[in-house]
């Protein structure tokens, strides 16, 4: 099986769907001739022509809006927002339109669109190339929100998202594009090729939306995480020796409640990790649900480890980033309680 980086896996997913479904079109800022600032769409315009893969004006709101119109027409648009930090101008179109079309038209119109966007920090991108805005989507009824942590999932989830009839927000942790990242910037970068989950089958396969994956089994404490934090949590478990069960949620909406409940009922402890700002982050929803569903199984308060409630700073990147040290402390604290 081929070993792909996350960028290649994402490209492969689009390639695969464009080849088998004429309705799939791909566009966004710099995605056409150039192939995207992260190279995710490289070669697609050459292969499928300018009518199916093209550059868009720098107008995120318009990008989402025309995707909605195309989706309602019957196409399967995959739109790229260059950085998740730049999705806000398109937020109204996502929240007021894409998410509601089906509901308000009684099913007559809907928006089968995928909005891809690189998210997260770790590349010295400063406050406008580092954000993780997932909670701003999980609060909106009618949207699905997905975030892969490895090439295998990235391809399978993106294919599932393109095939899905609902609007899907597809967040791509940019720090994982070219290799897994355990949160140790001082260590040399590792390429994906050395990671088992870079084995990506050729052709179509789907990873269903709404199914979590247990990345590491354990009995001591459940770690709920996604994206880059899966690798950070793995490192923290390794480094602390805590017998952590690491659950990679993969899809935030719909959420795999069964997997969460099963793990927390087993361990009785829970640590939630995300890179986004703590307050009202998706970790709050997870904490609330764990409390509601597993209250009597809990032996310690649910811990949240997250980005601080500040904009993402440039130079203090590694003080902001919730790395293995902070996650490790939370694991130990949860075990002590």
């Amino acid at each position: 099986m081929a070993r792909l980086s996350m960028v290649e896996a994402i490209r492969d997913a689009m390639d695969c769907k464009m080849a088998e479904d004429e309705r799939v079109v791909v566009f966004g800022e710099d995605v056409g001739y150039f192939g995207g600032v992260f190279r995710c769409t490289e070669g697609l315009q050459r292969k499928y022509g300018k009518q199916r893969c093209f550059d868009a004006p720098i107008n995120e709101s318009g990008i989402v809006a025309v995707a909605i119109g195309m989706g309602a027409y019957g196409l399967r648009p995959v739109a790229e927002i260059q950085f998740a930090d730049y999705v806000y101008p398109g937020y109204d179109q996502i929240v007021s339109e894409a998410a509601r079309l089906r509901f308000r038209s009684g099913g007559e119109f809907f928006a089968p669109i995928v909005i891809r966007m690189p998210c997260g920090g770790g590349i010295y991108g400063g406050q406008t190339h580092s954000q993780s805005p997932e909670a701003l989507f999980t609060h909106v009824s009618g949207l699905k929100t997905v975030i892969p942590s490895n090439p295998y999932d990235a391809k399978g989830l993106l294919i599932a998202a393109i095939e899905d009839d609902d609007p899907v927000i597809f967040l791509e942790p940019k720090r994982l594009y070219n290799g897994p990242f355990s949160g140790h910037p001082e260590q040399p970068a590792v390429p994906w090729a050395k990671h088992p989950l870079s084995e990506v089958p050729e052709g179509r396969y789907a990873v269903p939306l709404g199914k979590a994956a247990v990345r590491r089994e354990g009995k001591g404490v459940t770690v709920l995480c996604y994206g880059t934090m899966v690798h950070v949590a793995e490192a923290a478990a390794e480094e602390t020796g805590v017998d952590a069960e690491i659950v990679d949620l993969r899809s935030l909406v719909p959420l795999d409640v069964d997997a969460i409940v099963a793990s927390v009922e087993k361990t009785g402890r829970c640590v939630i990790v995300h890179e986004a700002t703590l307050s009202s982050g998706f970790g709050a929803e997870l904490a609330a649900q764990v409390m509601e569903r597993c209250f009597y199984a809990l032996e310690a308060p649910v811990e949240r480890v997250a980005g601080w409630d500040t904009p993402y700073p440039h130079a203090e990147e590694w003080d902001y980033f919730p790395g293995p040290a902070r996650v490790g402390r939370a694991l130990l604290k949860a075990m002590e309680a």
Partner: protein, 408 residues
């Protein structure tokens, strides 16, 4: 020497108590505007944005290059569509006052724009309307009772009680689900037209926005994407002079014509007498022909006047003279078409009275049927459990749990 700066805040010429004054509205003679070929380069017709295409003159005659598009039979149908729309609005306003629904928005005085435009479109074309284009549905021949079911949010409402009255959805009739958010659908229409172009189809889109809403940022998105990809879309601006309480000057209409917004994008643009059924049809047809011939987008500013309140929540006497409509220089679209038909010998006062009775009866009959399926607070309702449907294609677990919590 320094000037002390000051903020310019536009103000309409008159306010309540004042004498209506439209002397600032330039009304060119009917028939004056030439009719360019549909493949005219947009840059060559820039002056059209500063003038106005008019066909019906004061005496009711149809004159000039844009005349002669419609038979008297078609014109009589147009008259009926407008009268039916007006009767429908009147009845629904009454229903709202009777508490049968929560809210209503009429199109009084603007009926020609939607009714005549619809006739220039083909099956499969898609309109992205605002809440004031019920005329599109009515001129299409969509069942009034279906519209009313939705206004009453009753058991037969295809939208299952979810939408405010007037925010219809009728895919079959080329009528996109109306948003309560202003402007959002304008660029969606461009996307729809782009899809048609990508697929090599022959369908066109028609986007709608009000003068006030041209200020919204979505207006810009639509023009940018239309300018870049040149998809088959008609960009309609209904300039009915007012937003809610603010007049078109607060949207920039004091400084320039809305039609001129297209120029910065190289988009062809027309400015048209929106109370002239013949002019609306002819200009719409021109734009539709251009779009279908792959000649790209056309923006059209329809100049009209909102004769009624903004909605049932509004009282226009608070911000404009009560009798302003009577002074509006472009008159009333129904009265003008009627006069034309009479002048060409295709109509009479007597037939007018008959038709009025006919449309009133049709509306009454539809209302009876619709009311039998329930009104907002009385009679059959959409099922409560349906509230959890259509949020997603398939109901996810958390919504199933919530539906159960509600007892379904």
């Amino acid at each position: 020497m320094t000037t002390r700066l000051s903020l310019h805040v536009p103000e309409p010429t008159v306010r309540p108590g004042g004498k209506p004054d439209f002397s600032h509205v330039d009304v060119p003679e009917a028939g004056e505007a030439p009719r360019p070929p549909i493949d005219v380069p947009p840059g060559e017709i820039r002056d059209f944005a500063y003038s106005m295409i008019r066909v019906l003159d004061d005496s009711g005659e149809a004159v000039g290059d844009w005349a002669g598009e419609l038979t008297s039979e078609q014109l009589r149908t147009g008259l009926r569509d407008m009268m039916l729309t007006r009767a429908f609005d009147a009845r629904m306003l009454m229903s709202q006052r009777q508490g049968k629904t929560s809210f209503y928005i009429a199109s009084l005085g603007e009926e020609a724009v939607a009714c005549a435009h619809r006739k220039a479109l083909a099956p499969g074309d898609m309109c992205f309307p605002t809440y004031r284009q019920q005329g599109l549905l009515i001129a299409y021949g969509w069942p009034l009772v279906d519209m009313m079911n939705s206004i009453f949010s009753n058991a037969k409402d295809r939208l299952r009680g979810r939408q405010l009255p007037g925010l219809y959805s009728a895919r079959e009739a080329g009528f996109f689900t109306v948003s309560g958010n202003l402007g959002t659908q304008y660029p969606q229409a461009v996307g729809w037209a782009m899809a048609s172009a990508i697929r090599g189809d022959d369908k066109i889109a028609s986007a709608w926005i009000g003068d006030g809403s041209t200020a919204e940022t979505d207006f810009h998105s639509a023009l940018v994407f239309a300018s870049v990809y040149r998809p088959p879309v008609i960009l309609n601006i209904v300039n009915n002079q007012w937003a809610i309480s603010s007049y078109q000057g607060i949207a920039g209409g004091e400084s320039a014509k809305f039609a001129a917004r297209a120029h910065g994008f190289g988009i062809a643009s027309l400015r048209v007498d929106g109370n002239d059924y013949l002019a609306v049809y002819a200009a719409s047809k021109w734009a539709a022909d251009r779009a279908r011939a792959d000649l790209g987008p056309t923006l059209i500013e329809w100049v009209t006047y909102r004769a009624g309140a903004h909605s049932t929540s509004d009282d226009p006497s608070k911000y404009r003279p009560k009798d302003e409509q009577a002074a509006w220089p472009l008159g009333d679209p129904i009265a003008r078409l009627k006069a034309h038909l009479i002048r060409i010998g295709a109509w009479s006062e007597e037939r007018m009275r008959q038709m009025q009775a006919e449309v009133d009866a049709e509306v009454l009959e539809a209302a009876k049927q619709a009311e039998a399926h329930g009104t907002l607070h009385d009679g059959p309702k959409p099922s409560t459990a349906s509230m959890f449907e259509d949020v997603y294609k398939e109901m996810p677990r958390h919504l199933r749990e919530q539906r159960q919590q509600l007892g379904y």
